[in-house]
Amino acid sequence: MTDISVPPPELLESYLFANTPAYLFRAMTQNKYLEQLKRLPSESLRALIDQIGEIPATISQVVNGYCALVALCLQPATPLEEKSAAVRASKLPWASALFSLAQSRLSVSTNFSTLPIPTVKQTPERNVAAPSKATTTVRIPL
């Protein structure tokens, strides 16, 4: 079990080199540390986010705050209002942008496919009762 108070060093490096929220978001979501944070209750994640504004924060705490914010935003069971409140209360400059990125990740994409009519080699059955010139129907019972 990883200590949630200490983010992994590669995330600290990503934070230092990050020039856009998208870069930081991608680095965080590719790290298994975020998966561990996502399993925490939302109250614990709020506490990690909120501590940034109370004390002079170290880089480690800031990174942890960002990770907790993204983990909270990616939790499917946490209500949207709670996520929005955490983002509004956060002192992290990229909080709003990371929230938008997380929301777009939670939504669903759609793919459309059209399959052409397959060819069937089949002769009509003779023993099925049907009127001549019958219209074949599919009935869906209630």
């Binding site: 459309f112 496919s113 009127p131 074949t136 009935r139």
Partner: protein, 137 residues
């Protein structure tokens, strides 16, 4: 690992452009016909797929339809998660041929492994359906 959360067959699957909500009209759970072979002129499948973070963005899928042990058709499909965790695949089959009674199976495959399998009983109607015309003259 990619998993299929929802898989169904319906007469029509509609995607609301404003809310991005999907609706299925006329969900098919069995097929009763008065004559065979039968071709259902338009039928649509809806699949909701979810991936793990380790999975890739693009999927090569195969949709296979079989009646008992007879494979009716196998068709490749492409799906992209577009960076998201879940994706929908809405597939329109322009005619689903059913040669006779039996058990119709629709299987969604990813690299040979089964993502979703749904079965439908296909049976012949005991009596033919004859249309009645009433006149109000």
């Amino acid at each position: 690992m990619t998993t299929c959360k929802i898989g169904l067959l319906a007469s029509k699957v509609i995607l609301d452009g404003r809310s991005n909500e999907a609706s299925a009209i006329g969900i098919i759970d069995e097929i009763v016909a008065v004559a065979f072979p039968l071709v259902i002129p338009a039928v649509e499948g809806f699949y909701l797929l979810e991936r793990d973070d380790d999975d890739g963005d693009d999927l090569q899928l195969m949709l296979q339809a079989s009646l008992d042990n007879q494979i009716l058709f196998t068709s490749p499909m492409h799906a992209s998660f577009q960076g998201k965790k879940r994706t929908r695949v809405i597939v329109q089959m322009q005619g689903l041929p059913i040669p006779g009674p039996g058990q119709l199976t629709l299987t969604l495959l990813k690299q040979g492994s089964e993502l979703c399998r749904s079965t439908y009983d296909v049976s012949a109607s005991e009596q033919a359906v004859t249309p009645t015309v009433s006149s109000s003259e």
